[in-house]
Symmetry: C2
Subunit: 348 residues, 2 copies
C-alpha cells in the first residue's frame, strides 16, 4: 500500500458488505442497532479495505473534533528549560488519549501569536482548550472567551477571582500559598530568624501567591528580605547575590521554585556559605530532575504536576461532553486547588 492512493470511503465499505452507508456508519460508531450477522459482514469489509473514517467529513456534520488545544503562553524561553510543562503535557496526553481525543499544541512566543491563537480557537478546530502560564496583562483570556470555546486554565488566572464577566473561570492550581507557608514555617522551626524570599515572576499568580504565603508567616520581615526573581536559575543567582549584599546575615532562603533555588545554591557556594549549616534553602515544585540533582539535594514543596495536567484534561472533557452550560461536581466552584507537601532533603 504505497503512495497517496485515496483511502476507501464509507460508500466503498457499504458496497462491499452489500449494505447501505447508514448501516456501515452505525457499525463504525458503536454499532448499536445492527443485527449481528450484518454487523459482522460490515466489520470484515472494513478490515479488508483498511477503512478509516475521514475525520474532516465527520466533523463537518457532528461539529465535534475530538481534539483539544493546549495553549502555552510563555514568551520567555522558560517553557523549555523547565520540565514543568513537559510533565503537565504528559498528564494531559494520557487523559486525552484515554478519551480518544487529540492534543493540538499551540506555543506562543509573543504578542503577534496571540491573535493567531485566538483565530485558531474561534475557527472551530477543537472542542476545547487548556491554557497555561497566563500573565497578568495577557490578552488571551479575552480572545478565548470571545472564541466561545470551553476552557480550563492551568494556574489561577490573574484577573482577580473571576473573568471579565460573570462566568466563573475553571482552573486547576496547587495550593501555592499554603505550600509557601509550610515551607517558611519549616524554616522557622529550624530556628532560622533571617528568612528571605526570592520571588517568581510577579506577573503570574503562582508567584504572587507564594509571596503571600511567605508574608503570612513572616509578616514582620523587612522589605530587603524579599528579592524579585523570575523562576529561572539565572534570576535566582542574581537575586541571591543581591540578597547577600543587602543582608549578609541571611540564614535561610525560600525560593519560588526549584530552578531559582538551584541558582541561589550556586551563588551561596561561590560565597563560601555552607548549605544548610549557614543558610538553609527551600524550593518549590519538587521537579526531580532539579531537586535531586543539586548539591545538596533540595528540600522543596511538592506539587503533583502530572496529576494537575490529568485533572485539567478531565475537567475539560467533562465540560465538552456535558455541554458548556453544565458544570460538573468538581468544577462548580470555579477553581480546583490541589494540596502540596513538603519534601525534606538536605538543604533545609
Amino acid at each position: 500500500m504505497t503512495g497517496t492512493a485515496s483511502r476507501p470511503t464509507l460508500e466503498a465499505v457499504a458496497e462491499r458488505a452489500g449494505v447501505s452507508r447508514a448501516t456501515v456508519s452505525r457499525v463504525v460508531n458503536g454499532g448499536d442497532g445492527v443485527r449481528e450477522p450484518l454487523a459482522e459482514r460490515v466489520r470484515r469489509a472494513v478490515e479488508e479495505l483498511g477503512y478509516v473514517p475521514n475525520q474532516a467529513a465527520r466533523s463537518l456534520v457532528t461539529r465535534r473534533h475530538d481534539a483539544v488545544a493546549v495553549v502555552i503562553a510563555e514568551p520567555e524561553t522558560r517553557v523549555f528549560a523547565d520540565p514543568f510543562f513537559a510533565l503537565q503535557l504528559r498528564g494531559i496526553s494520557k487523559e486525552l488519549t484515554a478519551h480518544d481525543s487529540q492534543l493540538v499544541l499551540l506555543l506562543t512566543e509573543g504578542r503577534d501569536d496571540h491573535a493567531r491563537v485566538g483565530r485558531y480557537l474561534a475557527g472551530g478546530h477543537v472542542d476545547g482548550a487548556l491554557v497555561f502560564s497566563l500573565h497578568l496583562d495577557d490578552p488571551l483570556p479575552g480572545l478565548i472567551h470571545g472564541a466561545g470555546v470551553p476552557t480550563v486554565f492551568g494556574g489561577r488566572p490573574g484577573w482577580g477571582d473571576g473573568p471579565p464577566d460573570a462566568v466563573p473561570a475553571v482552573y486547576v492550581d496547587c495550593d501555592n500559598r499554603g505550600g509557601a507557608r509550610e515551607a517558611v514555617r519549616h524554616l522557622v522551626g529550624l530556628g532560622r530568624t533571617r528568612i528571605a524570599h526570592i520571588t517568581g515572576a510577579l506577573d503570574q499568580t503562582s508567584a504572587v501567591d507564594r509571596l503571600d504565603g511567605f508574608r503570612d508567616v513572616m509578616a514582620d520581615a523587612g522589605p530587603e528580605l524579599v528579592v524579585e526573581g523570575d523562576f529561572t536559575p539565572a534570576g535566582g543567582e542574581r537575586a541571591m547575590r543581591e540578597l547577600l549584599e543587602r543582608r549578609p546575615d541571611v540564614d535561610a532562603v525560600f525560593a519560588a521554585n526549584d530552578l531559582t533555588a538551584a541558582g541561589a545554591l550556586r551563588v551561596l557556594r561561590e560565597h563560601g556559605r555552607r548549605v544548610p549549616e549557614d543558610v538553609a534553602v527551600i524550593g518549590f515544585d519538587d521537579m526531580l530532575a532539579v531537586a535531586e540533582q543539586t548539591d545538596p539535594p533540595l528540600t522543596t514543596v511538592r506539587q503533583d504536576i502530572e496529576g494537575m495536567g490529568r485533572l485539567m484534561a478531565r475537567l475539560l472533557l467533562r465540560r465538552i461532553d456535558g455541554g458548556v452550560a453544565e458544570p460538573g461536581p468538581e468544577d462548580s466552584s470555579g477553581g480546583v486547588v490541589l494540596p502540596t507537601a513538603l519534601v525534606r532533603r538536605a538543604s533545609a
Copy 2:
C-alpha cells in the same frame, strides 16, 4: 458574543457582501482573480461578521489539513526529564507557525499506543509526520510507512541505512560519531590515557553512533572502559559507580549526554575525586539547563537542537507542498547530518 452560537459561514459573508460564495472563497484564499472594489467589499464583510473558515469543510474538499503530527515515541519518562524534546518542539513549532500549520502532538507510552498512532496517521488527519526517538525494535516505522504519510525522522532511524524497502527515509540528525570523536580527542589532548565511555541507551542509533565515535579514537580501550547507561542521570550514576569499581584508575569519562554526565559527576564527588584534576568529564548535547548548572560546569558537545527541529519541519513541509514524490535539494540524500562543536567549560 457569548456561548456556542454558530459561526458565520461563507454563505453569510457572500450575502452581506452581495456576491456569490465562490467570490468570497477566492478572496479568502488569496483573492487572485477578483477586482479590487469587490474584493474590498468582501473583506469588510468578513471583518464585520468575524468570519473564520471552517477547517473541516475545507479539508473535506482540499484534502489538506494544515496540520502535522509530531510523534514522540519514548516509553520511558525520559522525554520529560530531558529538555531535549522541548527544544526540538520549539523549533518545530516556530517553523510550522510560519507556515500556518498546526502541531498535533502524539505521545506514546508503549506498545498499545503504537496502533493508535498508526491509525491516526492513516486516518488522514494530518499532512505529514515528524517522528522522534525511535528505538531499534520499534514497529512505528512500518506503521507509518503503511499509512502513506510524508514523514521526517528525528535522528537516524535504526533499520540500517534505509527503510524496509527502497524509499530512502528522510531524517535529520547531528554528527553523533564525529562529535564523540572530537570529545575523546580532546580528552586525549589533555593527556588522559584511561578514558572511559558511559553509553546511552544502545537501542537508539544516537547512542550507538557516539559509542562508535569513542571507539574510533580509543580503538584499543579495554572493554571494561565502556559501561552501558541509558541517557538518564540515574543511569550515569550507576555506570560511574561500576566504572570506579572496575577501573579505579580511570582519569577521564566521556558520557553519552549531559544528563548522564551530571550523574557521573555526582558519584565522582561522592568518591572524593576532583573534576577535572583527577577525572575529566565531557558530556553531549550542551543542554544549557544542565551543562551550565553542574559543578563544575560541563565541557560538552553542542548540537543545535532547536535548529534540528526547525530543519525537520522545513523538510517535511517541502515534501508536503511538493508532493511525496519530489524530494527537495536538501533531502535528496535521505538524511541531513548537522555539525557539532565542542564547548569547553570547567570539567575537561
